[in-house]
């Protein structure tokens, strides 16, 4: 009983942490209002609350048009990558997979490159932007290829096989992308800026672009949290308990890939989040997916807001890309996970 009471505090705790990170993210930045005026300005925007925050119109627009979209986008990207990572780990029963290691990001990059090469200026004005969709199709093909290659050589649940298949698929997608770029050097700049992402120049329209995908994908994934627990006992036993394992796996992979591809199309390549955050949450709150998935959303959002801060402060001479920050933290973390999960690789 004591244990279950303690567990019920994790979600509110993570929510509080996210709120603090959000506020912190809104208060920090080179230009803009004094930091202590920001909470007042935010309160002022609440319905039925009117506070004179003393923020000038210019400062207000720095806060609302530059900082806020960036913080919101970082939160969306962080939560989506973490949630997708945890879900992939669940359906593949493999602690080492994440959207990058499975080749999703490289496949999405290839899909996006193709759209840019064909004619970005024409497609941009389409009622539905084809860029995230192309990224989704590329990402989905890549993860399916990884799974098929991994499954072809022994059991797909053998961690090492799946990760190695992901490496191979990533290399293939990257090679094709490089080949296409060589033939179309006029779009290199555009593609390169897409790969690096535009978190630093985030606008509300970026938020609007990814939000529907993130909502649909997260909704589907969170709804599967109980079934992911059933999947933990293996395909055969889950099946004998009445779970239709293949259908669950396909649904989760499609949903996670949809979300990942959409956020990658605005944030660029941000590695290791999908492996770091779920493991951190598992370590703190246990491995049950019912707790893990909602907590991952909160902690992932918090993590990326915070990880984006160095990039915004250390802007001299050039801003540090957030992918560099997460890799800096993530690479050693990955090695620690490998060390503690050595058994899982056999």
């Amino acid at each position: 009983m004591i244990e279950s009471t303690r567990r019920s505090w994790w979600l509110p705790g993570a929510g509080l942490l996210l709120a603090v990170a959000f506020l912190f993210g809104a208060m920090i930045g080179p230009a803009g209002p004094d930091w202590w005026r920001v909470p007042l300005e935010l309160l002022d925007r609440l319905p039925f609350v009117s506070i004179d925050s003393g923020v000038s119109p210019l400062e207000s627009s720095v806060l609302w048009e530059i900082r806020m979209p960036r913080v919101v986008l970082a939160a969306l990207v962080g939560s989506m990558l973490s949630l997708a990572g945890a879900s992939y780990q669940g359906v593949f029963r493999n602690p080492l997979v994440d959207p990058y290691l499975l080749g999703v990001a490289a496949g999405a990059g290839l899909g996006a490159t193709l759209v840019i090469v064909v004619n970005r200026t024409a497609t941009e004005s389409w009622p539905i932007d084809p860029l995230p969709l192309a990224a989704f199709i590329g990402g989905l093909l890549a993860v399916l290829l990884t799974y098929l290659v991994g499954a072809a050589f022994g059991a797909a649940r053998v961690s090492a096989t799946l990760v190695l298949a992901g490496v191979a698929v990533t290399s293939l997608a990257t090679a094709i992308q490089t080949f296409i770029l060589q033939r179309n050097s006029e779009v290199v700049r555009q593609v390169y800026s897409w790969i690096l992402g535009r978190l630093s120049t985030a606008t509300w329209s970026d938020v609007r672009l990814v939000l529907p995908y993130v909502i649909v994908s997260s909704g589907v994934l969170l709804a599967h949290r109980r079934l992911l627990d059933v999947m933990r006992i293996g395909d055969d036993e889950a099946q004998s308990l009445g779970a239709r394992v293949d259908r669950i796996r396909l649904t989760v992979v499609v949903a996670a890939t949809l979300g990942t591809s959409a956020v990658v199309s605005v944030s660029g390549l941000i590695g290791f989040v999908g492996i770091m955050v779920p493991h951190l949450v598992r370590f703190l709150a246990g491995a049950s997916y019912r707790r893990l998935l909602p907590l991952t959303v909160m902690v992932g959002a918090t993590f990326l807001i915070v990880a984006d801060v160095p990039g915004r402060i250390l802007s001299d001479p050039a801003e540090t890309p957030i992918g560099v920050v997460t890799a800096f933290l993530g690479a050693p973390f990955f090695i620690i996970v490998l060390r503690s999960r050595q058994g899982a690789l056999r």
Partner: protein
């Protein structure tokens, strides 16, 4: 009480046939035990009932074909205790047993108060309530086996499939686990189909034995008919002495090729 019938059941993996035209009827409340050397087809037969392998022929439960049932409906009828179940180290015993309620929970739903209460009662009945909140990784072999049986009970299925339920246990825990299954089937009227290696225990607890060899049923009947020294020597290639105790217990004892001094 529920009957389970097979008519010319055949299970094959590519070219190799694991079970060949097996026909039998397990009566309601009966405990039928499959015996036979490794690779005789015992597990394949159990897995076909659990819906884990494709098969030809018919499996019927109370006269209705199993093929027509969805995965979920099948899980309401049949609980399968595998030979080496996957027990995630950091899952608690309660969470694990609760998985047994999966057939009754809708796709996106979650367990009701009734499900949790039922699991609590099952844990109490199996005398394992005290480690409900313990992680599976910290349990001993005997405790794990009882938790796996508890998960099968949570399915509330009238047919229980047990694949080598005692192979990982010491003699005391073997007896404990089989006594438990025996008690439960008397209380609930379960129909039990098991596969076992220990011939003495198989004969002691089941109502009827089926000896499989290369996928064929070569002998079927009560223990004292099936467990004969010459039969076992023919199909297992062993040299054994079979004792019959006055109370009807059949004891199979291996013999050394060089006599004891």
């Amino acid at each position: 009480m529920t009957s389970l019938a097979f008519s010319s059941l055949t299970v094959s993996y590519g070219d190799s046939v694991a079970v060949d035209s097996f026909s039998d009827v397990v009566r309601p409340g009966e405990w039928l035990c499959l015996i036979g050397p490794n690779g005789a087809g015992k597990s394949s037969l159990l897995r076909s009932v659990a819906g884990l392998v494709k098969y030809q022929g018919q499996i019927t439960v109370d006269g209705a074909s199993l093929d027509l049932r969805s995965t979920r409906r099948r899980a309401e009828l049949i609980a399968h205790v595998p030979q080496s179940p996957v027990l995630p180290d950091d899952m608690t015993a309660f969470e694990y047993v609760l998985l047994g309620r999966n057939p009754y929970v809708s796709y996106f739903g979650s367990e009701t108060k009734h499900d949790r209460e039922l699991v609590r009662q099952i844990l109490e009945r199996l005398d394992v309530s005290e480690f409900a909140q313990r992680r599976l990784g910290t349990l001993s072999g005997g405790e794990r086996q009882r938790i796996v049986i508890a998960r099968a009970l949570a399915q509330e299925a009238p047919i229980l499939l047990l694949d080598e339920p005692t192979s990982a246990l010491d003699i005391g825990h073997q007896q404990q686990a089989l006594e438990l299954v025996d008690r439960l089937r008397r209380e609930h009227g379960f129909t039990v189909l098991s596969a076992m290696h220990d011939l003495t225990l198989a004969g002691l607890y089941s109502d009827r034995l089926v000896l499989l060899h290369h996928g064929y049923c070569v002998s079927s009947g009560p223990a004292d008919e099936v467990l004969r020294a010459e039969t076992l020597s023919e199909f297992y290639g062993v040299s054994v002495t079979v004792h019959r105790d006055p109370d009807g217990t059949v004891v199979v004892v291996p013999r050394r090729s060089t006599p004891l001094a």
